[in-house]
Symmetry: C2
Subunit: 171 residues, 2 copies
């Protein structure tokens, strides 16, 4: 069965977080998630940048802005999604990955600034990618790579104007 | 034998790239690299931020600024390092990881803006983490996770003022 992974980016601030959230969106798309929901106001620069990539590089990646995170968590839970929150205070991914791989529908929550306690409570899994402070972009990448067991890197993106094939490979 | 991984961040622009390069530094540190070299002028805000984390969270992570990348590549090659350049134009990591895991000394080059052709030529491995545009932060994370086979997430950081243990874990 195909895996459905949706990413929820908690607490996006327009302009200030533009580059980092853009990285989150592109990582979600490139590593096999089907959609990202940005918690915050519509950010037109972000939309332009992400939709430009999707238009050129293909695939059906979706981007949505949503003012609240809790309504999203509830909606996805009703649709059978497991809620996975990435946080350094969570349980080690090395221990939990087996359980998570059995889930075919995952809503992955990533924050940047301090996440309110409700996010921990509402999540089925609070998962740490190491016990050191680093980057939600990196944490998301490793989660997706582990959930898809590396196969996401071979995913096809239909309808692309641009495709890199072995001919383009350097050395 | 212990692995020595050093990261070279190509083309850092002070202020403009501060947040993204900070993520690169923290990912390098958290996921087991021993050092990052930033190609560019000294960026005091970046140094303060990265050294603040290292001071509180332990370990012997090093940060260096260097105006040129080629001198660094030559120096590390002389010391027995393999040069791994992460680029979407490279060969798939899924195919090349076996060869790379046998190397105990790796200089990993990550860019952001367009990298000059010499970087491709000087590298022993040009490696793609997928064939889609995404993020050098994510690419670095997956490279390190694969090189260390996930064990980097259990690394100890001696001398830390702050440590998260199982007691802090949520649900």
């Amino acid at each position: 069965m195909e895996k459905n992974i949706v990413v929820l980016r908690y607490g996006h601030r327009p302009y200030r977080d533009l580059r980092v959230t853009t990285h989150c969106c592109l990582v979600a798309r490139a590593l096999g998630a089907k959609k990202i929901i940005i918690q915050g106001e519509e950010d037109f620069a972000l939309r332009k940048s992400v939709e430009g990539i999707t238009k050129n590089w293909g695939g059906g990646f979706e981007l949505e802005f949503s003012p609240g995170w809790l309504e999203q968590v509830k909606k996805f839970r009703e649709h059978g999604y497991s809620i996975v929150h990435l946080t350094m205070y969570g349980k080690p991914i090395n221990k939990e990955i087996g359980k998570m791989r059995r889930k075919n529908k995952v809503l992955a929550i990533i924050g940047s600034r301090k996440v309110e306690i409700g996010v921990y409570r509402e999540s089925d899994f609070n998962i740490s990618i190491g016990k050191q402070p680093h980057s939600e972009i990196a944490a998301l990448a490793i989660l997706l790579d582990r959930l898809f067991s590396g196969k996401e890197l071979e995913k096809k993106f239909p309808g692309a104007k641009m495709v890199l094939t072995a001919k383009n490979e350097k050395k």
